[in-house]
Amino acid sequence: MSQMKTNGTQTRSFGQRMNALWEYANPVKFMALSGKVLPWIVGLCALTLIPGLIWGFFFTPEAANFGNSVKIIYVHVPSATMAINIWVMMLVTSLIWLIRRHHVSALAAKAAALIGMTMTLIALITGAVWGQPMWGTYWAWDPRLTSFLILFLFYLGYMALWAAIENPDTAADLTSVLCVVGSVFALLSRYAVNFWNQGLHQGASLSMDKEEHVSNVYWQPLVMAIIGFGLLFVTLLLIRTRTEIRRRRLHALMARERMSDA
């Protein structure tokens, strides 16, 4: 067998290693591992988010075309990036729930929704505040702005659906389907600028194309802020998923108590 090794030792094949990942879908194992990594992620988040934001706010020069308003990108771009990526993460965990029925994945999607909604709201507000001096309007029915607004409504709908259905498995099923449908708008939010040219919103601020991306003096703190926002998301996601797991366990214990009382 290809995965068997000599010297009496056995190494695991890629498939086996991938299968071992599913062990962390076990709530007990997830709680143990997340409890260990959480302080490290909090530390990394503080080390990237705080310096990234301070650098962006205090130590970046005025831009020739945007003036000092360029400082808004350090909160607008990271929050918009996270708004889309969080929905993608929810899509992956929702598909895992639908296919493999792992409760932790459904709870992780539920835990991520409020964070994603907050990031979308921040992106919408900071975009509007920046739009007024730049475009002369807070809002335009531009493809990217509109798809972001729809994404925000999907986040709201997703959370409302979780709250409205009492049976947690049914709620996980229906919200997962909603998440798959909403993914169209998450992708549209990302690529709307490329699909339609008539919008007000400019192209990506971060691009691998050196001609296209913003100058290094703005780019470096921006990357740091995006990493910081990403780590803040992971931190909050772990805290909130652990809370959801505890609530689920509490719900089960309460149900048992009620049954034994009856």
Partner: protein, 50 residues
């Protein structure tokens, strides 16, 4: 003191709202976590003591 020029209002509003929303979300998450932990602990103790 940092001079933000004519965009000072837009910049301060954007940053202020962002930090406020992120701080609110973090506090809410921590508070919910603490409550769930305490409630679960109490329920497990009740179960242990019969």
């Amino acid at each position: 003191m940092l001079d933000l020029g004519k965009y000072a209002d837009a910049i301060l509003w954007s940053w202020g709202l962002t930090l406020l929303l992120l701080a609110g979300l973090t506090l809410m998450s921590l508070r919910a976590s603490r409550k769930a932990k305490a409630d679960l602990k109490a329920a497990e103790e009740r179960r242990k003591n019969g």
